[in-house]
């Protein structure tokens, strides 16, 4: 099948959502021009996109829902079941300081010129076909405009019930000057999930994102974060992934303003015993502003043939002096069957910057393990502690202590079940 035919087949497999006709048409055109990804594309060498490319979705059995996370957090809950908004399970889409609309229902004026533009900006220099596909086709999602400190977090819950669901959701989040919002996301969402989140963080605004991708074995997901960070603004994102046949998490973060901060972190745990595990983080951070600070902290714990990949870049544009860019990607291999592939990249066009990157692959430290066991901690429990120790730098990127504790508890739970 020729590239354009494949794109046409993919685009016509599902009806696009309503509204944003111009932006959607432009995105469809972008996708047609770039084509769907193949193994020969530079950033798809380690991840086979075939299962994401097909018009039809391979079935994935939904698993019983995990105990809900963030139940105690003061939040506005929004539930999507296989990508379909569940009004009964969701709270009213209203809170002080925040306007919330649904992509499936409305096209607020503020969103018209914005929807799809961050995704489009993220297409150079590396193309992200599933981001364009998402903009063109997304059936629902939230359009969130934050004008003040949000009263509570927005808690997106993605339920997976149908074994052939193929949801495409697109959230557009605009934080006005000085505003602040936390977005929480949990759940597998569907058999195959394509999600994009465009986040526009204006001057002095603060955005926090904590995501837990479901522990389901068979699910596949391709997700994008497209962010734009203005002066003195803050963007922070943390993702925990446990299991999943295929996960590709892309992030494109543009630090445009001076004195802006962007941190993105991920902790992934894969046990191939439950089925194939393939987890891919592809991150691109650009610095255009002065004195920008960026951190990429990605950790993967792999066992029983699990595969983890990381492709991360810090790109410092001309004039982005005093940039402080940091990137670390590490894997902890719990056996000889598992594998971690990493491609850390720096591209720097300013002379007065501090940028560092590192990547390591290691096993459990025998000395530390012996130390713990010599104090009476059973071997498997000791290994669990050392896994948490390994993940600590990524988890520490979560600012809120209560949220951090919930994430750690979820991790401990997973570790206890995967000894």
């Amino acid at each position: 099948m020729a590239a354009s035919e494949a794109v046409t087949a993919r685009l016509s497999a599902q009806a696009p959502g309503p509204g944003f006709g111009v932006a959607r048409a432009a995105a469809a055109e972008r996708l047609s021009a770039m084509g769907l990804p193949g193994r020969r594309d530079e950033y798809w060498r380690w991840t086979d996109p075939a299962a994401l490319n097909t018009p039809e979705v391979a079935p994935a059995a939904p698993e019983p829902a995990e105990a809900p996370l963030f139940a105690e957090v003061n939040s506005l809950k929004v539930v999507f079941v296989d990508g379909v908004f569940d009004a009964d399970a969701s709270d009213d889409l209203a809170m002080a300081g925040v306007e919330i609309a649904r992509l499936a229902l409305e096209e607020p004026a503020w969103a018209t010129g914005l929807y799809g533009t961050l995704e489009e900006a993220g297409q150079t220099p590396v193309k992200r076909p599933f981001g364009a596909l998402n903009t063109a086709q997304a059936t629902d999602g939230l359009l969130i405009r934050v004008t003040a400190q949000a009263e509570k977090a927005i808690n997106l819950v993605y339920v997976h019930k149908s074994e052939a669901s193929d949801p495409i959701l697109h959230h557009l989040i605009k934080l006005e000057e000085g505003a602040e919002l936390t977005v929480l996301e949990t759940g597998p969402a569907g058999a195959r999930f394509n999600k994009a989140m465009e986040v526009d963080v204006a001057k002095g605004a603060r955005f926090h994102h904590i995501r837990v991708q479901g522990a389901e074995q068979d699910r596949r997901a391709v997700t994008h974060i497209f962010a734009r960070v203005a002066e003195e603004a803050l963007f922070k994102s943390f993702t925990l992934t446990v299991n999943g046949k295929l996960t590709r998490n892309e992030a494109y973060i543009d630090i445009l303003g001076d004195d802006a901060v962007a941190h993105i972190a991920g902790a992934a745990l894969g046990d191939g015993k439950d089925g194939p595990f393939h987890h891919d983080d592809t991150v691109f951070v650009t610095h255009a502003g002065l004195r920008g600070e960026s951190r990429q902290v990605f950790k993967k714990v792999l066992k029983n043939g699990a595969l983890g990949t990381f492709q991360g870049k810090i790109w410092v544009k001309p004039g982005a002096q005093k940039t402080d860019g940091y990137q670390i990607s590490q894997s902890l291999l719990l056996d000889d069957d598992s594998q971690f592939l990493a491609k850390p990249e720096l591209e720097i066009y300013a002379d007065d910057v501090k940028c560092s990157h590192g990547s390591t692959t290691g096993a459990i430290d025998d000395t530390a393990l012996f130390y713990l066991r010599s104090r009476g901690v059973p071997e498997e429990e000791a290994k669990g502690l050392l896994v948490l120790s390994f993940l600590a730098d990524a988890i520490d990127e979560i600012e809120d202590e209560a949220l951090k504790e919930e994430i750690v508890a979820r991790l401990e739970d997973w570790l206890a079940r995967h000894r």
């Binding site: 530390a368 012996f370 713990l372 066991r373 010599s374 104090r375 901690v377 059973p378 429990e381 993940l391």
Partner: protein, 256 residues
């Protein structure tokens, strides 16, 4: 309490033999000291007793209260009452000292069929023991041994010992790198734990520590075995004359 009989140990991956027929009996309630030149095998002995990988026992046995230790996992040895204060305590980033202590204590209690301590009970206990060792709350919160000074690490070992209340305590050069004040804190910590049903094996280079922790028996170890055993006066003699004479009497030289 502890009985080591004719223990022969080599490295698993190399042909190097380290312990060459080691015999040692530590009676219940007693404090034994082991002195000896570097490379004698003192740390190896303590690692082998506590179950570290990488060593092969080719002959001999080691029992704790009649129970063979060498067949047990390290955690089972700990639960049986063995404790080793490491010569080089290990740093574990990302794991809080408190979490570590509580996990260890509760794991041991579980094996012994005792109830786990509640968070409140644990906190009270750890604060009380930490105070005696001048370990502040901040240090308890920090990751295990990360950023601790040499003296803090050693005090932390003694804190663990005080919390876990082992029967048989082995201290591997706990005094090395300590200044006078830290030495006193550590010694006081150890002395506070002395009891008729607890034994100590104190490995040291210096008589200095033995002024604080008074041993009942002193052994001189070299070349993988005990060369000579005596009372506290033996330590004084070594302090004054060095090991040369003792080594020579066994056909060994200092620079072995």
């Amino acid at each position: 309490m502890l009985e080591i009989k004719n223990l022969h140990v080599k490295l698993e991956d190399e042909d190097k033999v380290i312990l060459k027929g080691m015999n040692l009996t530590v009676e219940t309630g007693k404090v034994h000291a082991i002195m000896g030149p570097n490379g004698s095998g003192k740390s190896t002995m303590s690692y082998v007793l506590s179950g570290r990988d990488g060593y092969e026992v080719t002959e001999g046995s080691a029992t704790l209260q009649g129970q063979e230790l060498l067949d047990l996992d390290p955690e089972a040895r700990a639960a049986a009452g063995l404790f080793l204060a490491f010569q080089y305590p290990v740093e574990i980033p990302g794991v809080g000292n408190m979490t570590f202590l509580r996990t260890a204590l509760n794991a041991q209690r579980k094996v012994r069929g005792e109830d786990e301590l509640s968070a409140g009970e644990f906190l009270k206990l750890v604060r009380e023991k930490a105070k005696a060792l001048k370990i502040d709350a901040e240090m308890l919160k920090r990751p295990v041994n990360v950023g601790f000074s040499g003296g803090e690490k050693k005090r932390n070992e003694i804190l663990q010992m005080a919390m876990l209340e082992p029967k048989m305590c082995i201290l591997d050069e706990t005094d090395s790198g300590l200044d006078v004040d830290a030495m006193r804190l550590v010694s006081d910590g150890v002395n506070a734990l002395r009891s008729p049903d607890r034994s100590f094996l104190v490995i040291t280079h210096y008589q200095r520590l033995l002024d604080h922790i008074k041993p009942d028996v002193v052994h001189i170890m070299a070349d993988g075995r005990i060369l000579q055993t005596g009372g506290p006066e033996l330590a004084l003699e070594v302090e004054k004359n060095g090991y040369a004479d003792i080594l020579a009497a066994h056909g060994l030289t200092e620079a072995k």
